[in-house]
Symmetry: C2
Subunit: 412 residues, 2 copies
């Protein structure tokens, strides 16, 4: 018995058939449009990175790297990781060309990222993410700009202020506050990691007391830091007011040093973070030399798609050809290709139904594929040199020479 | 002493800084434009594939997979490979939805591909490739179309017929010819693999004699197969005549069954294959059920770039913002963001120089980045509400309200 190969993709990854790709492209194109509207330049790098890039924070982090990433040895005994996030790569690239770059540097990328997930239903091991970063500026207006860009990504998809909120916090402020309560640096780190999970766990208060050795009243909303206040006021000047200070918004990564934020879906069915980021002013110093201040955010394709579906905003960039040339018999296939080629030469996308199906089926298939025109090619057309273009939306027909019909399509 | 992280990318991979990315995007955009001009739809899949996908041909192939690919075990003991080529993935996806798809199916993708290369200078471990495939059509006109598309990719970059040639062959014909000489199926396979390396080795004749057990006169050009003849005649009808039958063009992969071809650079400095492909009529049958005929080709970003550089055709899709707003002092940064936001709202890409550099340096940096306009914002502008737009190409200045200046840029 012949054992057949599975047609499934690797566990936790997705196949993008053209109809899925059209949705993906709609999301990517919108992301790229907004990033470039703000003058961010596109960059990229390999999905393979030296594993060391993610191990900078010592042994505890090393364990995380090994357990939650795809990390393996290559044949030269180099430890390689499939990138789980893009910020370390961006910091590496900035550090490498620090002297040649003209700051402020604004970069964006749409990388695929990997994480090793245990066997949980529906958890993906690969996703794509819009990443925008602004390097070289300490000023609070950089924070304002980046959050404005994230806000504008949402509105570019048609989202309105009631559909999402911007949760904002300041790591430096939280740290100062906890230090003022007498917590040690290690206790502060543990408390921040606990705050990050606050919405997901039931026993926050018990665990917080365990870390601090006493009860800390997080519910007494303290006055925002002056930095946070200026950022929020700046956003208001730019018309952005669906902003809320949230003490439990701290972001998981250790490298954040200042303002952090999340875009949160306000709907009850999909009440979750769609993306976020923050300021990381010391990340490039891991590579030596003076640190370059940075602030960035990421937004995933899966969370974006869930948000758009939840709010009825999902659409797709479908790319059907303008014309399908339909030969009546396979013996006319080559002539049909020659005809199609004349349309292509004028920039009109054209394809030929080379199959052996009946004429009616071929025309129905073109219509299903959202093609604009068909041109049937048989003995009569080949003999006379007169062709007929049929518009599929309303059945209108136009007859003429090829040159005339090319002109009709090219003027669309 | 603090040990710093390296800023180098992983061995054999590339960082794409914005200036590199602009070249990459020029290549990718041109590829996508031509593929869609021919009605090919974009698809994609994960770089991670089950290793079995590349092991279908038994133990010998398994060794190749292990030695020349990135293959590792995940924590669920699944063997995973970073895809070395895209055709098996396309065949897998076609096989999975065979019943739902309306043939002919035309697909293209621009995947990144990986191969494990030993430590050779300049050899890359990751590259990108345009892949175009046409499924469901046996007819020779499908071969003609696919080769025409590959030809058109070259001309879309500005290449002329003297810069490259299309080397074409027919695996079925070669196989018949060798069988007629009395070679066994294994000898035929070995001879085809040897023919693939003919241009790269000195002792072809010796090795060929060793395989066949006798001398085979490859130089006596036999008459092309009738299939090959029809494809070449068909290409001529579409105006493509830089085509040459080449017995040593057999393509490395075992799955090819019919017409195979390569686009070859004719220059003496870069005399190499830029891409190629062929017909593989049985590939989907590995997944069970009736086979779907297929023909496809691939073309790499590195070979494409080398070709374009060799022939002076390389350019880049640079995406500078239209406008840079330049605050005279950091205290005007927020107001500058507010001004930029008004341009963005009209679809004009705009950025703010948030840095603390001198005005002159900021304007010079904008000019270096190929920005079209700058708008300087200081006390006077904030007080009067009258702003001045300076066109950087010729120094022309236009003054007016923000609304008036937005209109100037939006009408570009």
């Amino acid at each position: 018995m012949v054992k057949h190969l599975s047609t499934h993709p690797y566990k936790g990854t997705r196949d993008f058939y053209p109809e899925d790709m059209a949705v993906q492209r709609y999301i990517f194109d919108t992301w790229a449009y907004v990033a470039e509207l703000y003058g961010y330049e596109r960059y990229d790098a390999s999905v393979l990175e030296p594993a060391d890039l993610y191990k900078s924070k010592g042994a505890e982090n090393e364990e995380l790297v090994n357990e939650q990433t795809y990390t393996f040895l290559d044949r030269g005994d180099r430890e390689v990781t499939l990138r789980p996030e893009m910020t370390p790569t961006a910091a590496r690239m900035i550090a490498a060309k620090k002297r040649d770059l003209s700051f402020p540097v604004r970069w964006y990328s749409i990388p695929n990222l990997f994480r090793y997930e245990r066997m949980q239903r529906g958890r993906l091991r690969e996703h794509w993410q819009l990443n925008c970063d602004l390097f070289g500026i300490d000023d609070y207006t950089a924070d304002v700009e980046l959050i404005t860009l994230a806000y504008n990504v949402m509105t570019a998809f048609g989202a309105t202020d009631d559909m999402f909120e911007i949760r904002i916090n300041d790591r430096a402020w939280i740290t100062e506050m906890l230090e003022a309560e007498g917590l040690s640096p290690d206790q502060v780190t543990d408390m921040i990691l606990l705050l990050d999970r606050k919405e997901k766990i039931d026993d926050f208060d018990t665990k917080a007391k365990h870390i601090a050795g006493k009860t800390i009243d997080f519910s007494a909303a303290p006055k925002p830091s002056s930095r946070l206040g200026r950022v929020i006021a700046g956003l208001a000047v730019l018309g952005i007011t669906n902003v809320r200070v949230s003490l439990s918004t701290v972001r998981g990564f250790n490298y954040y040093t200042g303002v952090v934020f999340e875009i949160f879906d306000t709907s009850t069915e999909n009440n979750r973070s769609i993306g976020g980021g923050g300021r990381y002013d010391n990340l490039t110093s891991l590579f030596g030399g003076d640190p370059v201040p940075g602030i960035g955010f990421g937004m995933g394709d899966v969370t974006m798609r869930d948000f758009l579906e939840t709010h009825g905003l999902l659409t797709a960039n479908i790319t059907a050809p303008t014309l399908v040339v339909v030969p009546t018999e396979p013996e006319h296939n080559l002539e049909a290709e020659r005809v199609a080629q004349q349309f292509r030469a004028a920039g009109v996308s054209a394809t030929v139904d080379l199959g052996a199906r009946k004429l009616k089926k071929k025309i129905a298939a073109a219509s299903d594929a959202l093609v604009s025109y068909v041109l049937v090619l048989g003995d009569a057309e080949t003999a006379t040199g007169t062709f007929t273009l049929k518009r599929l939306t309303d059945g209108t027909e136009t007859s003429g020479t090829l040159e005339e019909l090319v002109a009709v399509c090219a003027s669309l």
